[in-house]
Each structure stands twice: as structure tokens, then as C-alpha cells.
Assembly symmetry: C2
Homo-oligomer: 212 residues x 2
């Protein structure tokens, strides 16, 4: 009974992404099977936790053999929804936007930046990392016409709220927000904020704790 | 006895960063006090969880009043180690590196990008976002001379391991890694990987689950 409408806790879905990364590394090495204790060791979890997570969506290893790597990877992709390609809009083609356009990891995980928008008229019609930049005024039309449901926000903080509202109105359902500001969007829209300073803060904290 | 050598669980330290963000927003609005239930509501936690987290390092609110915002913020900063400025080395002055140099959030949270390195000889001595770029050959000397303990890795995946090893040898203790590759470093060095595709994957998963 895989994903029969039950909602996975956030911690479990985050671990699914980590399982998938590791399974993909094993696939690249042409490894056929992996045991729950091997998965656990690689990710710093207990084997019991791994078995519990995977049993959540009906995956059971074979005693003494473990899981078949390609099957398990495919099943995790299916649960995460990355067994298909998501078309994503990118708003902001500055340094960060350009870096994101060039980031190879997105396509590898099933995300294609399908259209790019920027408010700077000097970028109109220009090509950044092989993708043509649309003027911001075309955002609603293009997003709606192309049925795009995910967007990446890489604009200055001052511009973020207005863009987020336009995206929501055009039917976008999830926003990955790099702008260091809180967004006010309808409940039907999910926002995931990428707080880069927070990541550095947590790292600094761990380093400091190691020194005790 | 606040941080008397006891190690905070990772989930708690992550929530501390979130408390701090919210406390800073309250400070900006000149709010004097905040209750555990207000903090809980703002962050989607239970009031009991907030009280438990803050009691961890000896912070107790006053019944009917709550916590004093500036005191609590300062205490959280002290626990996280961001009550002082951390000097950070940035390796890679391409699009991502430049975006990170311009990112205002770092300095606001106590991080100063003190030196920048790039392997591209055309960037030698050039200034990016007001900071002079050093040739990569100077990395070990500068990091060691300046006693830098944290680094941000914004180089292509192929170059990441070599740079990480140099950083570790030069005394860096924490690396924020944007390169989509796993780093092999001594145990004394903490690596925090920023996996941008993973964040998009989790967002897509949530959006898809909302549709059920």
C-alpha cells in the first residue's frame, strides 16, 4: 500500500531524499543490493529507523539480502514525485539566478528550469546559461500558459513579496525562496525558505561545540 | 548554567536559529517581551516544546509576562556562538560566490567574508563586491595567517575535494559546501552540505501531497 493518501511526517520525507542520494551513488557504482544496516551506517541512522521508514510505503527488504538498489531508488523517486520532470520558473537572473541556472544538481534530480524572468530591461531576450530571459511583465502569462507549479525566487528582498503574489495568482503551488524575507502567500502555496546564514550559523555552532 | 559543556541535540540547535530569527524580527519592532505560546505560534511548535528548548540552557520565562526579547535574543546568540563575528573564507568567485558575497544575511548574523579565493588567473587582484580576490595558491597561507576557521566552498564539483583538503590542512574547522559532491575530510572538520536540489525535492513533495 505505498502512498495511499497517508501523509508522511516531514522528518521521514527528508530522510527519503537522503536515502535517494545514497541509492543513486550505489547505482552509479552498479551495486545490486543494499541492506538496512548499510544504509543506516552511510547516513548515520539506526537500521531499525531505516526499516521503519521504508516499511512506511510498503518496502520490505529480503532477509540476508536487503533491498534491490534500482527498485528501491525508483520507489523512493515515485514517493517523492521526482520520477517525472518538474518544470520550474526562475525569477531573478542576477548572480544567484545565474548560478542556479548552471547548477547541474537540479536536472539530475528531475527539475528543469523552464523559464527565467528578470525585471532588468537590459536582460530582456538575452540568454543566460542557454535559457532566454523574459521580462517580468510576462511572468503571469508564461507561468499560466505553461502550467508551471514550482518557482525559485532569486530576487532582492524588496521585490520578493510582489513576485510571490504574482506567482501565486498565476497558479504556482510551491516557492523556493532565496530572498532573505518572509513571504505572505495564500495557504494553498508552500514556501520553502533557503536561509543561507542559518546554515552557516549551525555550522559555526557545531565547530564551537567540538572545541569544548 | 547555560552551555556547561552539555551537547545540544541537532534539532534543538536548529530551532535556536529559528527562535533567533523571530526574536530579531521582534527586536526590530521594538517588542519588549514574548511568551512561549507566542513564540510557539510564530514557529509552528507547541508552547511546551519552546519552554523545554529554552530551559535547556537555563532560560525561564516569567509567568504572565514571558521572556524579555533582547535578553533572550542575546542568550540564544551566545549559545549559537554568533555573539561574536566569525571571519569566513570564500573559495570560488564565480556566479554563486559573487551572489554569496553580496548576500546581506551573513553579516547580519555575525559572519564576515574576510577573504576570497579563485583559481581563475583573470580574477587575481580583482575586486568582487568590494573584496579583493586572492589566487588559490595563497589559500593556505592566508587562512593560516588570519586564523580563519570557517569556509564556504563555491567551486565546481571537480575542484571541491582538493580545496577542502587544503582548507582542512590550513586549520579550517567547518566547511559550508555548495559543490554537489561528497567531501572526504579529517574528523576534526565539520562539513555542512547545502543540497539545493534536495530543497526543491522536498518542496515538490509537499506540493504533491497537498494535491491528494
Amino acid at each position: 500500500m505505498p502512498d495511499s493518501g497517508q501523509r508522511l511526517p516531514k522528518a521521514v520525507s527528508q530522510r527519503l531524499s537522503l536515502y535517494l542520494r545514497h541509492l543513486e551513488a550505489l547505482e552509479a557504482k552498479q551495486r545490486g543490493t543494499v541492506s538496512s544496516s548499510q544504509l543506516a551506517r552511510a547516513l548515520g541512522l539506526t537500521a531499525a529507523q531505516v526499516r521503519k521508514d521504508l516499511a512506511y510505503f510498503g518496502q520490505f527488504g529480503f532477509p540476508g539480502v536487503g533491498y534491490k538498489v534500482p527498485n528501491l531508488a525508483q520507489e523512493v523517486r515515485r514517493i517523492l514525485g521526482t520520477d517525472r520532470t518538474w518544470r520550474v520558473a526562475l525569477v531573478g537572473a542576477g548572480n544567484l539566478g545565474t548560478a542556479l541556472l548552471r547548477y547541474r544538481g537540479f536536472r539530475r534530480q528531475g527539475f528543469e528550469i523552464a523559464s527565467v524572468f528578470d525585471a532588468d530591461p537590459r536582460l530582456d531576450g538575452k540568454t543566460v546559461a542557454g535559457v532566454r530571459v523574459h521580462p517580468i511583465g510576462e511572468l503571469s502569462r508564461v507561468v499560466r500558459d505553461e502550467g508551471i507549479k514550482l518557482a525559485i525566487l532569486a530576487v532582492p528582498a524588496e521585490a520578493a513579496q510582489e513576485v510571490a503574489s504574482s506567482l501565486a495568482q498565476a497558479g504556482v503551488r510551491g516557492i523556493l525562496n532565496f530572498a532573505p524575507t518572509r513571504l505572505d502567500v495564500p495557504e494553498s502555496v508552500r514556501v520553502h525558505a533557503v536561509d543561507l546564514a542559518l546554515q552557516l550559523e549551525q555550522l559555526a555552532f557545531r565547530v564551537r561545540q567540538d572545541d569544548r
